[in-house]
Structure formats: C-alpha cells, structure tokens
C-alpha cells in the first residue's frame, strides 16, 4: 500500500452534544478508491462533514492527517486548499452567484486560476461530458436545480478543481440509472494516481461503476470491518445484518 493521503485515527465527533463518531480509524492511500458503507444513522455523513470542517461538528478526540498536514485545526477553506473536496449530499443554492463566478472564485482561492479562454473551454468540455446544458453557466449555483442537476454540478466542480481526495457523500442518492452512470463515469474519468475517492453510500449500486479498492463498514460511529470489493457484493446479497451481527459479537 502506497503512502496514505488520508489517515484517520480514533476520531470522535459530536453534533449538538451528541456523540456520533466514536473512534473512527481509516486510511486512504494516494490515488485509491475507498467505499464507506453502513446503514442509516451509522455516522457516514457526520464523518464527511467532520473531515471537511463543518463548524456544527465538534471533534472531541482523535486525529486526522491529510497529505502530511494535521487537518483538524484548519478551517474548511484551508482544508479545501490542501486538496480535500466534499461532494455534498445536499448542495446549497446561492442565489445571485452564477456557476461561472462560483467556479472562478473557487479556482482563484485554490490558486488554480487559468486564463479566461482556457477556463471557458475546459468548462465547456466538462459540462459536455457530464451532460450539463450550457445555460447552467450563467444560472445561479444550485438555484432551482433538480436533485440530479445538483449532483452533476458537484462532479463538474470536482472536475474543475481536481482535488487530491474527493469525498462523495451519498452522491448516488436520488439519481436514476442514467444519471448515476453519468456521475459515476465522471468520477472514474477523474480518479487516478493524483486523485483518490472516498465514496460514502448505503447502496452498493454505485460501486459497480466505481470498482473500489477497499470497502469499509461504519456502524455506530466506528469502522467495524473492512475488506475488498467482495464485501460490497456480500452486503448487496445479504444486507448489513450478518456483518453487524458478527461485529457486534466481536466487540461484545
């Protein structure tokens, strides 16, 4: 296994005084695709937000290093500038801020600015790949977008920003089969030695497209088991019960 770009150890976090993460250990090596699965309420989205630095999520213990930096003292913007990207489950609309202006501000902040012509050409290419209509350039970001349009817009941002690690927080939820394929193809096109992915989902379906190197199962705020792609197929067949039953027995 090559060098870990993300290394989480013993991470505890609470929301509004309630502890959700109870000692998460997880490592993602440079350029790998990892899946984090688990039933509703296991803490998957909390982990995503905590890693990105949402102020609502309070870290109470443990450590996270990202690309050699201690992530936890940093604000969300500093984390993003290190190359961490969160594909939001519920992307936020910002009326008045156009997609183009939003992307320009993000690229500028990350010192990835490019000449206007190159920017527009790249934007145009990426939008075509993701089947996003040109009109979305001047539309206000996520404002009045359908669920599927929002998810594709997240992947567009991923494509323009090229982070070191992308966390996809239930990016598959609410997508129909075709949209799921477009989004998954987009992610597969982008990931490689320079970009790893941590995909959070409770359905194995998206994993058929993404071919994860590792699969982890989160339950009650801890990673209870990890394995290869087989683990996702097992969950598809048998559900979480057998795994969680074993895990519960093992920790008892």
């Amino acid at each position: 296994m090559s060098k870990a770009v993300l290394s989480i150890s013993g991470l505890h976090a609470s929301v509004e005084g309630k502890e959700i993460l109870k000692g998460v250990d997880l490592q993602v090596a440079q350029g790998e695709i990892h899946a984090l699965m688990g039933p509703n309420g296991s803490g998957k989205s909390t982990l995503a937000y905590t890693l990105m630095g949402h102020p609502k999520y309070m870290v109470t213990g443990g450590s996270v290093s990202f690309d050699g930096h201690d992530l936890l003292p940093l604000t969300a913007d500093a984390r993003a500038r290190l190359g961490l990207f969160l594909c939001f489950q519920y992307p936020t609309a910002i009326p008045g801020v156009s997609t183009v202006n939003f992307l320009r501000a993000a690229l500028r902040a990350q010192e990835k600015e490019m000449p206007a012509r190159e920017f527009l050409n790249r934007l145009s290419t990426e939008m075509k790949e993701l089947k996003i209509d040109e009109s979305f350039r001047s539309r206000y970001i996520n404002d009045g977008f359908s669920g599927g349009e929002k998810k594709r817009m997240e992947i567009l941002q991923l494509a323009m920003l090229r982070p070191k690690l992308a966390i996809l927080d239930e990016t598959d939820s609410g997508l129909d089969v075709d949209a799921l394929r477009t989004v998954a193809d987009g992610v597969m096109r982008l990931c490689g030695p320079d970009m790893g992915v941590l995909v959070i989902t409770h359905y194995p379906r998206i994993l058929e497209h993404l071919h994860p190197d590792r699969v982890h199962v989160l339950h009650d705020g801890r990673v209870v088991t990890s394995g290869g792609a087989d683990l996702a197929r097992q969950i598809e067949r048998e559900g979480y019960e057998p795994i969680l039953g074993t895990a519960a027995a093992a920790t008892a």
């Binding site: 913007d77 984390r79 500038r81 936020t92 910002i94 008045g96 801020v97 202006n101 993000a106 902040a109």
Partner: protein, 447 residues
C-alpha cells in the same frame, strides 16, 4: 477646484433667500414659491415622536436653517461623476444640475431628435406649460421638505421627449454637491409624451468625508400614453449628508416604468418612491438595492397607487446593513375602487451583516377594489451559514465567501436591470462598499 457663481445668494436658508428665488422666477412659479415658503414656515419639522411616518427616523439633529444654499459647482465631484458616465454609458448626454446653467455635454443626438434637455429653471420660462403639467402631480405645500424644495430649488434638469420619439441615447443627470454646510435642491423633471421612450440615469454624489450637507431632492416623472421610461438612480452622498427626497411618477394609459434605485451614501436618507398608475394598463417595475454600514440610516417609503384598471406593479427592494447601520422600509400598495384587475406586489428583503445592524420592514396593502391580485413579503436574516460553508468547502476564505453571498443577494436584482452599463456601475460601487469599510461618496480631489 470650485467655480464660484456670479449671483450667489447670501445667508442661510431663510426668508431673504426665498424672496430672492421668487423674484427671479416667472410669475406662475413665483406664486408657487411664495405659497411653498409660507407652508415651509408654517409646518413643523417632522418628529419621530409625533409623526407616524417618521417614527423610526429621527432628524432632531437636522437644522435646515443652519445650511447655506450652495453657490458653486464642485468640479472635482463633477469630474468623478463624468468618469462614471464614461464607463457606464459613454454615449449618454451628460447634464449637470447646478445653481446656474452648465454646458450640456453630448446632447446633439437628442436635440436633433427634437428632445428637450435643459435646465429646469429655463424650462419653467420657455416651456412653462410642460413644467406646470409635471408640477401638477406635486402640491407645493404637501410636506415640510417638499415645500422647502418648491421654495428654493434652482438650476435643475428638465427633459421632454416628444410624441412617438424614442431617444437614441440615454440622459445622464449629475447632481453634485461640495463644500461644507451647504444645502442642495437636486431637481429632475422628465416628461415623456405619447409613445416616447427614454433611459435616464440620475446620479447624486459628493466627495467622501464628513462634510455636513443637506440634500432636499425632487424627481417628477410623467410618462405619457404608451410611453416607456427606464429610470435608474444612484445615491452616493458622503458620510455627512442628510438626504430627503420625493420621487413621483405618473403613468398614463399603457405607459411603462422600469425604476432602479441604488442607495449607498449619506448619513441619513429618507426617500419616497411613488408611482401613480393612473392610466389603464400601465405598468411599473420598481427595483432597489441599498447597502449601509457605519451608523448610516436609510428610510425608503414606497407607494404603488393603482388608480386605472388592469394596472400592474411589482416592487423589490434588497437591503444589506453592516456595523450599526439601520434600514427602515415602509411600502404601500393602494388600490383605488377604479383599479379593477389590478396586480401589485411589494417585497423587501434584508440581509443583516452584523449583530448591531437593524432592518424594519412594514409593507401594507390598502385594497378598495374587487377582483385584484395583490401581495407583499418581507424578510430579514443573516448570511446563511450553509451557503458560507459551501463556498468555504471550495477553498473560498470566509470573508470572501460572505462578500460573494452579499453580492449574490444584490445581483439577483442587478441582473434584472435593462441598462447593463448602469448595472455594472452599481456592481462596482457595491463591491467597493462591501470590501472597503464605511467609506461612501465619490473619490474626488477637493480643493
């Protein structure tokens, strides 16, 4: 550099100045000025204690009688305003509202179309009938400040577009003020005859700085049958300016008004944006943005008076206040019994950028007709934490994220302005306000 004017009046606002103004006016106007001055003297100063209209706006520290009527043109302020015209509407005619006439710049195209662009003072003599028609919508004695304006205005700007003429270039009107302790009476009167069309940019500015000035402004817009007026106004007074103004539009049958107000400056502003939809099928879209910081106080009062049947109006005012700035908004849709099938909406959205900033909003409906469609909405809130986090998650630092959200909040309005040059100017001025602390007014080198 300032240019002193020959016939400068002496003394502060008072009987002597008022008499001099009346004496210098044509008979019809002299009579009106005398009535106005008497009314001004008889009416008490509006009080936040006594007057419901002024309950949230305290002007007890304003003493009009301590101000001297302005007697000069601040060339540096005019230059700064001309630079804005050059960038936003290079083809526009440039007209300066000054105590005595200044050369009108770039009006050849308009004059060739038969459009009158001149001082209001000259029009009151040469085109008395047109001016009287416009003045008929404002009673000389209807309020303390309206009376004061009527008694003391001089200079001013008058535009008349004849029947069926669509102006090929906009008119940019500059109302400058300079010095300290001066009173100005900015005046804009625009009359569009049947089927005419015109774009106006009406700009108020003084140098940034604490100079105490009083601006008592009047805008009268008369839009004839089937005529279209795009009226854009920007207020960039310096930090020491008291600004009180009435902007009244009368719409004839099927006339259309598109109004855009940008409020950035002044120590205290109280303005009335009033549209009288008299003609059948007339329409008004009224948009406004306002950004305040420091201890600025803004008071916008709007009136959408539906008088004719099938009339439509829509008003949206967006306000962002920071530090200890305060905004007061009162909006009224008044539907007369004659205004069947009227369609009116009024909305005020406020963004509070600091704990100490405050916004009050009181939209009202007064419906006296059947079968109408009217509504109102008002909101006030802080910068949305989710929006901020979303931008930060893309690497944007928190201060810049907030600035983008504020700009976006306003762009939702600016994007609807038909005159793109003016929209860009407003955006640029807004960015400077958002970024630059509590500086208002134009950057002018004053002597």
């Amino acid at each position: 550099m300032t240019i002193p004017l020959a016939d400068s009046p002496v003394g502060t606002l008072g009987q002597e100045v008022a008499a001099a103004r009346a004496d210098a006016s044509p008979a019809w106007l002299a009579a009106r000025r005398r009535i106005a001055w008497d009314a001004y003297e008889a009416l008490p100063m509006p009080s936040s204690q006594r007057d419901e209209d002024w309950r949230r706006t305290d002007i007890s520290a304003l003493h009009p009688e301590r101000f001297t009527p302005i007697d000069r043109v601040d060339a540096a302020v005019v230059d700064a305003m001309r630079v804005q015209r050059d960038a936003a509407a290079p083809t526009a005619a440039f007209v300066i509202d000054a105590p005595v006439a200044q050369p009108i710049e770039g009006a050849d195209t308009l004059h060739a179309q038969g459009i009158i662009v001149t001082t209001l003072a000259e029009a009151a003599t040469v085109h008395a009938e047109l001016v009287q028609r416009a003045f008929s919508s404002v009673r000389a004695d209807e309020s303390k400040f309206v009376a004061l304006w009527n008694a003391l205005w001089r200079g001013g700007v008058f535009v008349y577009v004849p029947r069926g003429v669509e102006a090929l270039v906009p008119v940019w009107i500059a109302h400058p003020a300079g010095g300290d302790g001066h009173a100005v009476f900015p005046s804009t009167v625009v009359v569009l005859d049947e089927g005419a069309a015109l774009t106006v940019i009406d700009a108020y500015a003084s140098a940034s700085g604490p100079a105490a000035l009083l601006s008592d402004a009047m805008v009268i817009l008369s839009v004839g049958r089937d005529a279209r007026l795009d009226y854009n106004t920007v207020q960039q007074w310096g930090e020491g300016v008291w600004h009180v103004g009435l902007q009244r539009t009368v719409l004839d049958a099927n006339a259309k008004l598109r109004f855009m107000g940008v409020t950035l400056g002044a120590r205290l502003q109280k303005v009335w944006w009033e549209v009288l939809l008299e003609g059948v099928g007339s329409e008004a879209d009224i948009l406004g943005i306002c950004f305040g910081d420091g201890t600025q106080h803004f008071d916008h009062q709007s009136l959408q008076a539906h008088i004719g049947p099938e009339t439509r109006s829509n008003l949206l005012l967006k306000v962002a206040v920071r530090d200890r700035a305060r905004s007061v908004y009162g909006g009224m849709i008044d539907v007369a019994p004659t205004a069947v099938h009227a369609d009116g909406y009024v909305a005020n959205r406020n963004l509070l950028l600091s704990q100490g900033a405050k916004a009050d909003s009181i939209p009202r409906l007064e419906i006296r007709a059947n079968d109408v469609k009217c509504g109102h909405g008002a909101t006030a809130g802080h910068v949305d934490a989710d929006q901020r986090f979303y931008l930060m998650a893309r690497g944007v630092p928190p201060e810049e994220a907030s600035a983008l959200i504020v700009r976006g909040f306003m762009d939702d309005v600016l994007d609807r302005i038909p005159h793109r040059g003016f929209a860009e100017l407003a955006g640029t001025l807004l960015d400077a306000e958002i970024a630059g602390g509590s500086v208002t007014g134009v950057a002018a080198e004053t002597s």
